[in-house]
Amino acid sequence: MSSIHIRINRRRFLQGASAAVVSAGSLGRAFAQGAALKVGVLLPRSGYQAGIGQDCQRGVDLATGLLKELGYPNLQIVNGDTESNVDTARAQAEKLIGEGAQLLVGAFDSGQSSAIAQVAEQKGVPFVINIAAAPPITEQGYKFVFRNFPTAPMILGDAFANQKEIFEAAGTAPKTAVMMHANDTFGTAMQQGIGAVMPKFNMPYKIVETIAYDPTARDLSVEVTKAKAAGAELLVMVSRLNDAILITRELVKQRWTPQGIFSMGPGWYEDQYLKTLGKLADGPISFAPWYDPNKKVAKMLEAALAKKYPGINLNTNHVYTFEALLVAADAYKRTGSNDPKTLAEAIRTTNITDNVSPGPGISFNAKGQNDKLKDSAFQNRGGKCVVVAPKEAANAKAEFPMKPYNQRA
């Protein structure tokens, strides 16, 4: 009881102290009119991406408390719904800016982010993208668009590097692989990227067959039959949550356990997957943007999540949405201004080393892209994910090859 008392007092003291310092103007900067920076957060809160949008929102919810704890100024968050569609994304971006948003964050989907980017650029309002992997967005020469998320080629390069690390640690490597991918924006981009990036890494395996499937398909038995018939040792996947569950079920029913399931994208690590499949969820290794479990702020975020949303594992959606707001808060703190142009200039010189994602930290190159991000490899184990590569950001050893499905109780 008394310890709680002390904690509150200390926190209040720190808040009071920083406020006093600020108001004394000793830093030489005045926070404009005492009004917090107005940040418009655009996410798909309805429509087919609603589930992911709601998950990203958790990152936003956690940000408010955590940013304050880290000593950043308050942000006034205004929520917008892109309804998972491009028209609405654009209109809502206009609306939020019209209502005074000085910075935009969003929007998970590449198409919608692209539309918002155009509006932001035109209005001169900085737009920090939380999640969107399509390369073209940062190739347009925009001055107000920033992306703290890897592009598809980056994800791929890191994936291959991590895979080699895993093979080395396991002492064995597969020689053949079959690849299955959803025939949507992300899946196709990854598949095309693999063709371009893989040769540079001298991987021990060859992809003997590539199978593209309709992402809205509810029955993937034929696709899995085809994959099994390819006779490969490794299964490489680019899919989303529902397909991941469907495919795993088919693998069990058709009695095929590959040496490993390497997923380069979402789905296989998500809570719903782990919960639905229980013991059958163990084994797949995902190669995707993740967090560095050894970093201090990552641990803080994990703790905050456990407190506010118990039973939910920390994932990409939470991390990168949080980091987008972190970038905003950091720029605001450094400039003390909520003028969009000044903020954009400030974001360009961002250098946050106390962050959550793997790599040296958050910084942006001339195109507005954080090209120093590193992606991790993490494996499903006992209802959670453990990070198995890269070494600097890992906390476990990979289980490879994985345990056959029919040997799990």
Binding site: E94, I97, G98, G111, S114, A134, N183, T188, Q192
Partner: protein, 336 residues
Amino acid sequence: MRALLFGGIPARGWTLLLGSALALLLLPLVASDYLLTVLILIFYFAFVGQAWNIMTGFAGQLSLGHALYVGLGAYAASALYVHFGIGPWIGMLAAVVLSALVGAALGFLAFRFGVGGVYFAILTIAFAEFARIGFDHLSWVGGSSGLFLPVAQFSRNELWHLRGHPLMFYYLMLALAALALIVCRGLLRSRLGFYWQAIREDEPAARALGIDTFRCKMIAVVISAAMTSVGGVVFAFYYNNLFPEQVFSIARSIEIILGPFIGGVGTLIGPIAGAFLITGVSEGLIELLTGVGLAVPGAKQVFYGICLLAVIVLMPNGVWPPLAAALGLKRGKPRR
């Protein structure tokens, strides 16, 4: 020609028309950018709604896959721009030709084999879905990863390349919607228009009267397709990215027909009135639900569906006919 296009409008009608035209022209002076964006969308739906109306409302051939022509137009012009640097106004010609050909093929296949009514509607859906999946696999236009148009800075308005401030698109879409209205009026009041209405009401009887129903229906489909594709071109250059999943989807086809449906299929002002009403209701619902705190995903669409249901049940001919009557505009329009 002048009498055809502009004759026969009651004085009150002129006042209303010119009044609203003036209001819309001057609106950007006071409107926020957000409102402009909303209006651009309204004009777009009014435009393609008019185009759809020609085929379904005038000639009676129900099309449920009109997103096909939007997509064809959008992709044709965009591909030419991205790969060969050809400007959109020239690309529009290619878009129109492509859509017209596809429309003609569809029409030919359907009408030669006597496919009509519901079957025709399903055929249109099949064509649109076919295009959707087909374009998903066409890597020349980006396949399912999408086609991104290079975006330039917005400091200058370049009408030739359709790059510019939303204000430019506002006036462009307004002009297009107005043009569509004039063209449709001309068509409806022409001999062809009367043939169409005859076919719509009773095709065997029309044939018995000596009307070449096949030719008339084909013309309707081709004009409708061509006009719709123009809308597609502007759409592409406004949003600057295209994904087959979104552009050709059934949801889009339904969006297109909601306007004319609510406003009044087969009427002239119907698609325009409908477009305003639908977007207005849509945006209004967002405000209402956020205000009441009921902004749960899906809530807006449920209300939307209920409104739609209400209009269909209570005002089967659309909102415009009773509205026109209330405004005192006596028009000798065909009644259903």
